[in-house]
């Protein structure tokens, strides 16, 4: 793998940048892989990378029906944080945040990871009680967090309407300084490049159409490029997880919903942190390019169409304008939707199944991006050892039968 550096940039400028190595190869599928990963998004690529790097399994294929990182990895609002309420969830997300902190160096790829902090606003007394509870829980779990007063919030974000006359006055906020944003495409590309260098085959434009089984164990996958035999099959298909599960006659406790987001025209720097509000339901940050990145809520109906209804966008914009009146005449540039697989308890499923050699990492709902490194890491362990990683154990699919749900609904800063 060609190392990237400032010096390399200078060197290649002498040859007009015409001799850069291809970032990853485009291999022909082999007949057999030890592990086949279905889904070439951030989570799938991270899983492949950690399997190769930490568990010595390099005969891996990542099968992607479109192009790498073209699904939810490219559609989220790039927020990374770990201030979840329950121990199980906060340990998993904090594991991920710790990996984020050294990831750009590890992958030798600029992820534009920016720990600019995340504010979760409180607008009611109950909000503030929940915030205090969550910050205290975070600190007991060794995760940084602070409760801020209205004056402190106003000082941090002068353009936020903190006046008493606001429809939902800001009463305070929680603040996680180590949280922030990262460039979402770069994460997929960085993992893909590193995995490719370790010998992982990235098979794009290849769709899985079936999963072949024999005596209760997986044998391989049928694809649009023929049958590929596999020792283990790991499904990381996000919104399409139920479609994959149906191939083996399984149902999952998931519903796929459209989730919308949008960006404005590029502006000069005006917002240097991430502001989220659960109560009015909107969140916004400013990208390095200058556009405001705004996230909406999910559409309530089941949808695979990667688009949602306009009233959801309208509701979100109303909330953003309420918080930031200064944005009222900013024009939106683009809006889009992705399909998120939501779980009844708003926590993911990282699990073995009753079929030997079949694993699922799904159900991340609206908050999977921040977990990309951590999820890949613990899922790789689960696959390699055929035994859940200690951090992944509480997220087994069995929790829906045993009743040990991890209810993160609204307990996190915002419904996402």
């Amino acid at each position: 793998m060609q190392q990237y550096s400032g010096f390399g940039l200078l060197k290649h400028s002498l040859s007009y940048h015409e001799n850069w190595q291809r970032v990853w190869s485009n291999p022909t599928p082999k007949k057999h892989y030890d592990v086949v990963i279905i889904g070439g998004g951030g989570h799938g690529l991270a899983t492949a990378y950690y399997l190769a790097k930490e568990h010595g399994i390099t005969n891996i294929a990542v099968i992607e029906k479109g192009y790498l990182g073209g699904g939810n990895t490219a559609r989220n609002t790039t927020i990374v944080r770990s201030n979840y309420l329950w121990d199980e969830a906060s340990h998993l997300y904090e594991h991920s945040l710790k990996l984020w902190e050294g990831l750009a160096q590890e992958l030798n790829y600029n992820l534009m990871f920016s720990q600019r902090g995340v504010l979760n606003l409180g607008h009611t007394l109950q909000d503030m009680r929940d915030i205090e509870r969550r910050v205290n829980a975070n600190r007991l779990n060794g995760i940084d967090g602070e409760v801020l007063t209205t004056a402190q919030v106003q000082e941090m974000v002068p353009i936020l309407d903190c006046s008493k006359g606001a429809r939902y006055p800001v009463m305070g906020a929680s603040w996680q300084a180590r949280a922030g944003t990262a460039r979402h495409d770069a994460v997929a590309w960085g993992y893909a490049r590193a995995a490719d260098a370790l010998g992982v085959d990235l098979l794009q434009q290849t769709e899985v159409t079936g999963i072949r089984r024999k005596d209760g164990a997986v044998e391989g996958v049928e694809t649009t490029r023929g049958f590929i035999s596999a020792g283990k099959v790991a499904c990381v298909a996000a919104g399409n997880s139920s479609v994959i599960a149906k191939m083996v006659g399984m149902e999952l406790p998931l519903e796929s919903h459209p989730l919308q987001a949008m960006v404005s025209e590029p502006l000069k720097p005006i917002l240097d942190t991430v502001v989220m509000s659960n109560h009015v339901h909107g969140y916004v940050s400013q990208s390095d390019k200058g556009d405001l990145v705004i996230g909406a809520g999910i559409d309530g109906y089941v949808g695979y169409g990667q688009r949602g209804s306009f009233n959801v966008v309208e509701h979100t914009i109303a909330a953003i304008i309420e918080m930031f009146p200064i944005f009222s005449r900013v024009r939106l540039n683009r809006a889009w939707g992705g399909i998120v697989d939501t779980c009844p308890d708003a926590c993911p499923i990282i699990s073995k199944t009753h079929i030997k050699g079949l694993y699922f990492n799904c159900g991340w709902g609206t908050g999977g991006f921040k977990a990309t490194p951590g999820a890949g890491h613990v899922f790789a362990h689960t696959i390699a050892h055929d035994d859940p990683h200690p951090l992944a154990k509480p997220f087994s699919i069995d929790r829906f039968t045993s009743g040990e749900l991890i209810d993160e609904h609204g307990a996190a800063g915002v419904a996402h």
């Binding site: 139920s242 149902e251 519903e255 109906y301 089941v302 009844p344 829906f400 039968t401």
Partner: protein, 99 residues
Amino acid sequence: MLHIHCPYCEEMREEEEFSPAGQAHIQRPLNPEELSDEQWARYLFFRKNPRGLHHELWLHAHGCRKYFNMTRNSVTYQIMETYKMGAKPSITASEEGQS
């Protein structure tokens, strides 16, 4: 935005008047104390979540406030039909069967 025909109001109305309530035709078990944990989990949490035709429950929240059923394509979002509670859908995907 969806344009929905309420089978009780017998009118086309805007999506904002309605709220979706998930998969339709899920029956509450009649013999709850005889059910295993697996069967309860299936009833409470596990869903078809199909990519294609979906029979689902909607509430006309800002209208007649009645629940009704809808058959909709979950990819194109095209609404095939809406029908009253207790009625059977006339359009079903053959491979899916009817639950």
